[in-house]
């Protein structure tokens, strides 16, 4: 894993001291809220519905066991014993007091973490493929490029006050595991004809009130030009993006209104000035960063693991969990494990301090002390020996973390919604809980197969409802919560924005509506191998719509 250099350490420590003084001045009445608000936001401190909320950056979703243990400590010492993992692969604490925040930031700095650039109109944490470095199908380890982007974008003076926030995503293979098409910039690693790594560059994706999929402006960008090309895109955006209307300020609007070809031309024109300048990655730099992500000390194992087959045959619950939560690893004899933070009927993405510590311990015992946060609000252990899966699973069962539902209908993404968020119009979590309880029968859930269900509590779409197979958007109608359903969205390499099915459902009918959608799919699919999205693409919206509104 990457470690801070001396510059990072010194800077973060200075920032903590600076913020400590700013908090003291605010409490003493020397700063007004108008003066203090931009300062607290620059340090990740928001004001939510019931209390402050601190958003901590987890660079490209990668954590060491030491860091996760520290997050657990912070949850217990300063908060209410839990944290919430987000679709941005960050963690949020919902109850910090103002005076404690400098101490929290100091405790974070002690494990090379911070909350900088988790707010504001700057370049935010890079969304990453959670299986980077271990996925059997990856072209190259995307963490290396995420780290190069982190170093470049952190405190970038030119891009600290962009027209609006800016999010970059990197995926390591043809399979998109970072929702690249819904980001301001999406980078898809690929190889050129000579086998050299580079990127397909997409730009102008986004969700919110105007969902737009990113368009490709460059089919192949050699890796050495990564930063100069990103800088060229950001410069065009910084100069031409709208600052007069917050709803039209994201790069997606600029790209749409400028047109892909013209936008690409502007980028190439800017890039021509800087491509061979100081941002060109020098020989050796990629290798230097690569060294931080050197593979751990894998053992030479057979890929076949007879012991695992016996354990699966002897335990149905374990077998089901392996079936849904364990994926192929690039090394023989190893596996990639998703730890679901979606217990049936639970709160998506929440983990208690004890659970964070348990995962950290299991990562040390059975992995190489590394944990990933996925954009689906789960955790992932990247390097588990197949022979250790059963023991790991038993440890997860003990911690209440062995739900066998990764990628299934109850693996629901939900934003905090009106239960916590100041921007929300409706609650999202109770809807997720109701749907999760409805489909809690493991056999039924397995029979339904892989499907994405995402629930946002407002049009800002933090839960990515636009790109869910079944998307749910909470809206407020005269103080009452209603839920609009979209179908057919997709967040993978065949990204799509869902179609609105019809009038919204009230709180009491939304779980029924989702069940109806699933029933139509089950009735219409061509065998169990046809996933929901394929059936939807084949039969379209109409059969679902007819069934959903048949009684009205």
């Amino acid at each position: 894993m990457y470690r801070y250099d001396e510059f990072d350490h010194t800077f973060v420590t200075q920032r903590v001291a600076q913020f400590r003084e700013q908090v003291a001045r605010r409490i003493a009445g020397e700063l007004t809220e108008d003066e203090f608000k931009p300062l607290r936001l620059m340090n990740g401190l928001y004001l939510q519905l019931h209390a402050y909320m601190l958003r901590v950056a987890i660079p490209y979703g990668t954590l060491s066991s030491r860091q996760l243990r520290q997050l657990g400590y912070i949850a217990r010492r300063y908060d209410r014993g839990y944290g919430h993992f987000t679709t941005r692969q960050n963690i949020q604490f919902n109850w910090p007091t103002l005076k404690d925040v400098p101490d929290i930031l100091a405790d974070l700095a002690a494990v090379e973490m911070h909350a900088i650039q988790t707010s504001g109109n700057c370049i935010r944490n890079t969304t990453a493929d959670a299986t980077a470095g271990v996925a059997a199908d990856e072209v190259a380890d995307s963490r290396i490029y995420c780290e190069i982007i982190r170093q470049w974008s952190t405190l970038h003076p030119e891009f600290s006050f962009l027209p609006r926030k800016f999010k970059i995503a990197v995926t390591g293979s043809g399979r998109d595991r970072a929702v690249t098409a819904a980001h301001d910039i999406g980078l898809r690693l690929k190889l050129d004809a000579d086998g050299n790594p580079g990127f397909e560059v997409l730009v102008g994706g986004g969700q919110g009130r105007t969902p737009i999929l990113a368009v490709t402006i460059r089919e192949f960008l050699p890796e050495r030009h990564l930063l100069s090309y990103l800088e060229a895109i950001l410069r065009v955006y910084n100069q031409l993006g709208r600052r007069d209307n917050i709803y039209k300020a994201r790069i997606k609007i600029l790209v749409r209104e400028t047109g892909r070809d013209e936008f690409a031309r502007l980028v190439e024109e800017e890039w021509a000035h800087i491509r061979d300048g100081e941002l060109r990655l020098p020989d050796g730099e990629i290798e230097r960063i690569q060294a931080y992500f050197a593979p751990p000390a894998y053992q030479a194992l057979d890929d076949a693991c007879p012991e695992l087959a016996v354990q699966r045959a002897g335990n149905r619950a374990f077998d089901a969990w392996v079936g849904s939560n364990v994926e192929a690893h690039k090394r023989p004899g190893y596996a990639v494990v998703t730890i679901s933070l979606k217990p049936h009927g639970g709160i998506p993405g929440d983990a208690s301090a004890e659970q964070m510590e348990a995962v950290a311990d299991l990562a040390d015992r059975y992995g190489f002390g590394e944990i990933r946060v996925t954009y689906k609000q789960n955790l992932l252990l990247p390097d588990i020996r197949k022979g250790d899966l059963f023991a790991l699973w038993q440890g997860l069962v003990a911690a209440g973390l062995a739900t066998a539902n990764a990628h299934r209908v109850t693996d629901i993404i939900a934003c905090p919604g009106l239960d916590y968020c100041n921007l929300a119009n409706a609650r999202a979590i109770p809807v997720a809980q109701a749907i999760s309880e409805r489909f809690a029968d493991p056999e039924r859930e397995r029979a339904i197969g892989n499907v994405t269900v995402n629930i946002s509590g407002c049009i800002n779409a933090c839960a990515h409802h636009h790109v869910a197979n079944i998307g749910i958007l909470g809206v407020d109608k005269k103080g009452k919560e209603f839920y609009q359903v979209t179908l057919g969205g997709a967040a993978d390499e065949n990204a799509a924005i869902g179609d609105i099915v019809g009038p919204a459902f009230d709180e009491d009918r939304i779980a029924d509506a989702v069940e109806t959608v699933v029933d139509v799919y089950l009735a219409e699919r061509r065998g169990a191998d046809e996933p929901f999205i394929d059936t939807y693409r084949r039969i379209g919206l109409k059969p679902f719509k007819e069934k959903l509104y048949a009684a009205h």
């Binding site: 605010r26 409490i27 009445g29 700063l31 007004t32 809220e33 004001l47 939510q48 519905l49 019931h50 209390a51 402050y52 209410r80 109850w95 007091t97 103002l98 005076k99 709160i347 009106l418 239960d419 916590y420 409706a426 609650r427 979590i429 109770p430 809980q433 407020d476 005269k478 103080g479 009452k480 919560e481």
Partner: protein
């Protein structure tokens, strides 16, 4: 004019608070001063703005309330939740102490 009260968040912990008739702040909406006329509302808003300038409260705003025997009750999901805490964690927020 609908019955109106003033709410804000407390500087120290961000908790929800309500402006009371004596110019103080309470964690309970039941204690809130209720304005029934524009003049009364303006008076309350002036007090709230002074408190915000003094730095003890954040982001005060007026909101419509129902009244039951003169005591204010929240209208709409957002204000109901603000009086209680998250509906999905009844062990947290004001509701925890009141249950």
């Amino acid at each position: 004019m609908p019955n109106t009260a003033i709410t804000a968040n407390r500087l120290a912990d961000g908790f929800v608070i309500y402006l009371t008739a004596d110019g103080g702040w309470s964690e309970s909406l039941a204690d809130a001063a209720v304005a029934t006329s524009d003049d009364e509302l303006e008076g309350l808003q002036a007090v709230a703005e002074r408190a915000a300038r003094a730095g003890t409260v954040i982001a005060p705003y007026a909101f419509d309330v129902e009244t039951d025997a003169g005591r204010p009750l929240p209208r709409g999901r957002r204000e109901i939740l603000r009086t209680l805490g998250p509906s999905v964690r009844t062990d947290l927020g004001y509701q925890a102490a009141r249950s």
